[in-house]
């Protein structure tokens, strides 16, 4: 919280923050060139903004465009600053706050999906239980021996959190998550 206040302008006359922080999803369209991710991340660390999740990948090959999806948290004022600061970065084409956009469209929020690989090792009843629950969560088995499974699960972050929590007592070994991919509902692009 404090770091966010500092980032909002003055390091010297620190005003009490009265707004409440909210979580939002930003879509950032950038030229896919060396250093662009460092510029975006450097902006967040340099100005004391939060990154809760980050995904990046080239999305339009011929135009060399990448789409970066960032889940961040801050007061509406800070989120506005983040958007404008991102827009200043020379290779950044567009920044859309998907959550704000969803509000404008009268929607509950953008579609957000994450993929996770979850490795669970165990024998006997634990093993059966893990498989049964994975099925209930629509997780796929991507790899298995008699001693382990790797489940592949896609969904909202909260669903994956829940799945991981359930697997914990059943022999959870390791997790890898992609971070959030997101877009707004409806026919229009960003």
């Amino acid at each position: 919280m404090n770091a966010q206040n500092l980032a909002s302008g003055s390091a010297y006359f620190i005003a009490k923050e009265t707004e409440l922080p909210v979580t939002t999803v930003l879509s950032v369209l950038v030229d896919n060139e060396p250093g662009v991710l460092a510029r975006v991340i450097g902006l967040f660390s340099g100005r004391g903004y939060n990154i809760e999740s980050l995904t990046v990948s080239e999305t339009e090959h011929e135009q060399h465009l990448s789409r970066i999806t960032i889940v961040t948290r801050g007061t509406p004022h800070i989120l506005d600053q983040i958007r404008h600061q991102l827009e200043r970065i020379v290779p950044v084409h567009r920044v859309v706050d998907l959550s704000v956009r969803a509000d404008e469209l009268g929607q509950s929020g953008p579609i957000q999906r994450e993929l996770a690989l979850v490795k669970v090792a165990g024998l006997g009843e634990h093993r059966n239980e893990a498989l049964r629950l994975a099925d209930a969560f629509h997780a796929k088995v991507s790899d298995a021996t008699t001693e382990h499974f790797i489940f592949e699960i896609t969904g909202k972050g909260s669903k994956i959190d829940q799945f991981i929590a359930i697997m914990k007592p059943l022999g959870l070994v390791e997790i890898c998550r992609t971070g959030v991919a997101a877009m707004n509902r409806g026919p229009r692009g960003m």
Binding site: S8, F13, V90
Partner: protein, 601 residues
């Protein structure tokens, strides 16, 4: 110029094959660059070899890369052109970091070209290698590492474009040595280099209409102008003057905007902010409509945000959307270039049937005149000791009718310079505002003098700051740049001491400068001219001598050691809680900032 020569020159800027090093020089020529500031080293030798074999680019050899950067900043700020610096890899590049950050904070257009180790060695901890683009990423507007000679010309042109358009700033192009040697195709400057970069120039007309409506119904308006007016160019200053004339609004400016509106203008309130005048700060505090033109609500201006002009509607004209609502929330943002927006604004005001409320304006001006009569810049003269304010009053009186440019270092002398030197034109005042870089003023003066060889260029300096880039005296002597370094020598880091008095129980920890050099001998050692003045009565003659000498001068002006800079808004306080000079007794100073305020600074 002969027809053939013209033809061959225009030919030179066409697509053709050349080495990377040649491209650097060609791109500079095609960008209209005539002077650059630099320092050689292994990784830029091919470029230096090209510089040697031509005479269109004048290279100024500095004595430290930081000096090159500040010189390029002074050059840029005093001409409105892009400043250019050339440095080698490793230590050359790291020495450039301070001026790059300085230029970033003050929106100065700068192109830094740095050498880099050969591409194949990047990442191997090669001799004089550093991650230059990594180190300078946060202190440039943008930077590039060029790995293919065929990209070099395009990148260089793009670098100039990015540096000078939108909100101006520093950029850096890192050129590995093998790319300098390699041969490729040079391409001349393009019009629109990349689609992701498109600063907004024209203001939204609906927003401007809203602003005008607000201005014309104001009863207690004020214009708060800033460095953005200078950035926007001469036209912007002209339009600002026209706007003031048209509306009769009072006008104040930040440190960075001095000269955009003439200090002799009748609506001028003086600078605002921490060390601004009483009338400027009170007008800001009590106004009902504030028109911010190219300023960024810096914390030296606002004081305590909750107490900052609490009852006004705020209009903010700025080219950078991230400046809007950053520190202070505004009611009518107008994103665009100052000159473009003011043009629309003035047209709409002229066309409007509503006119400023003369009765209300009359009352407002008589209130302002009461604040003015408080004479917040007054000080007590002394027969035996030169008061720093007096020194600047005399400097101003003896140089104002000349073609003068002023630079400063950082400290009390800088604030006194802002208060006591009065600027009639833009681009005459070069100071490090945002970063507050001691050591800026001397090399900046060198840069200004290179751009204006026949003008009088004075660095108003402090005894501590001036030692930070003193080595550039040597460059000034080499290039016969007769810069005048007017040192207000109080034998203290006065500004630090003032804060220690305010905040730290008068414990003057390491703010006294023991063992100052003999500035007169130092000047002579460099091949310049030294002057010392200790008595108020000798001052005018000494200043006249300084002006007349056609050499770089170090002027050791011995001033009252313990003078402090007022007025001052102590930290944690609002604009209407200023500490004025006649109230600033030792007790008042010691107790000006309460425990809460102390934590804030």
């Amino acid at each position: 110029m002969t027809a053939e020569k013209l033809a061959s020159e225009s030919h030179s800027s066409q697509r053709r094959e050349m080495t990377g090093a040649e491209m650097v020089v060609q791109a500079l020529i095609d960008q209209g660059v005539t002077d650059i500031f630099g320092y050689p080293g292994g990784a830029v030798l091919p470029i230096y070899d090209e510089l040697f074999q031509q005479d269109r680019i004048n290279h100024i050899l500095v004595r430290h890369e930081q000096g090159a950067g500040h010189a390029a900043e002074g050059y840029a700020r005093s001409t409105g052109k892009v400043g250019v610096m050339l440095v080698t890899s490793g230590p050359g590049a790291t020495n450039a970091v301070t001026p790059l950050q300085d230029a970033l904070m003050d929106s100065i257009p700068l192109v830094c070209i740095s050498g880099q180790v050969p591409t194949s060695l990047i990442g191997s901890d090669a001799f004089q290698e550093c991650d230059t683009v990594g180190i300078t990423r946060p202190c440039t507007k943008h930077n590039w590492l060029v790995k293919d000679v065929n990209d070099l010309a395009r990148v260089l042109h793009e670098a100039f474009h990015v540096a000078k358009t939108g909100r101006p700033g520093p950029v850096l192009v890192d050129v590995p040595k093998d790319v300098q040697f390699a041969t490729g195709i040079y391409t001349p400057p393009e019009v629109s280099p990349r689609t992701s970069y498109h600063p907004r120039i024209q203001g939204d007309i609906e927003a401007i209409k809203q602003a005008v409506a607000l201005m014309l119904t104001a009863k207690r308006p004020v214009i708060y102008s800033g460095g953005g007016v200078i950035n926007s160019g001469n036209e912007a200053s002209k339009l600002l003057r026209e706007l003031v004339e048209l509306t009769n609004f009072p006008i104040t400016s930040t440190l960075m905007g001095l000269g955009a509106y003439p200090a002799s203008g009748k609506n001028w309130l003086g600078m605002l902010g921490m060390h601004g005048t009483y009338e400027a700060n009170m007008t800001m505090h009590d106004c009902d409509v504030m028109v911010n033109i190219g300023a960024r609500f810096d914390d030296r201006i606002t004081g305590r945000i909750s107490g900052f002009s609490p009852n006004s509607k705020k209009i903010h004209i700025d080219i950078d959307p991230s400046s809007i609502n950053k520190a202070v929330r505004v009611d009518v943002p107008v994103i665009g270039d100052v000159a473009h927006v003011l043009e629309d604004m003035i047209r709409l005001i002229r066309a409007s049937s509503t006119k400023p409320d003369e009765k209300a304006m009359g009352a407002w001006w008589s209130q302002i005149d009461k604040w003015r009569s408080r004479k917040s810049l007054s000080y007590t003269r002394n027969k035996d000791v030169i008061m720093p304010q007096y020194a600047l009053e005399r400097l101003y009186a003896l140089t104002k009718d000349r073609d003068t440019y002023i630079t400063t270092e950082v400290g009390q002398h800088q604030m006194w310079a802002a208060q006591f030197y009065h600027f009639e034109k833009p681009n005459r005042w070069m100071t490090s505002g945002g970063l507050g870089t001691m050591g800026y003023g001397l090399p900046a003066a060198l840069g200004v003098q290179i751009a204006h060889p026949d003008s009088l260029v004075i660095d108003i300096a402090g005894d501590a700051s001036v030692q930070m880039n003193m080595q550039e005296m040597s460059a000034a002597v080499q290039y016969e740049a007769p810069i005048k370094i007017f040192i207000l020598n109080n034998q203290y880091m006065g500004m630090v001491r003032q804060w220690q008095q305010l905040l730290h129980g008068n414990r003057l920890s390491h703010s006294y400068t023991e063992a100052l050099p003999d500035f007169v001998k130092l000047a002579e050692a460099y091949g310049g001219h030294g002057i010392r003045c200790e008595k108020p009565g000798d001052l005018d003659d000494a200043i006249q001598e300084m002006i007349d000498v056609k050499k770089p001068v170090l002027f050791d002006c011995r001033v009252a050691n313990l003078a402090n800079c007022f007025p001052m808004i102590p930290s944690g306080k609002a604009h209407n809680e200023m500490l004025l000079p006649d109230e600033a007794t030792d007790d008042a100073v010691a107790n000006a900032i309460d425990a809460k305020g102390r934590q804030l600074v």
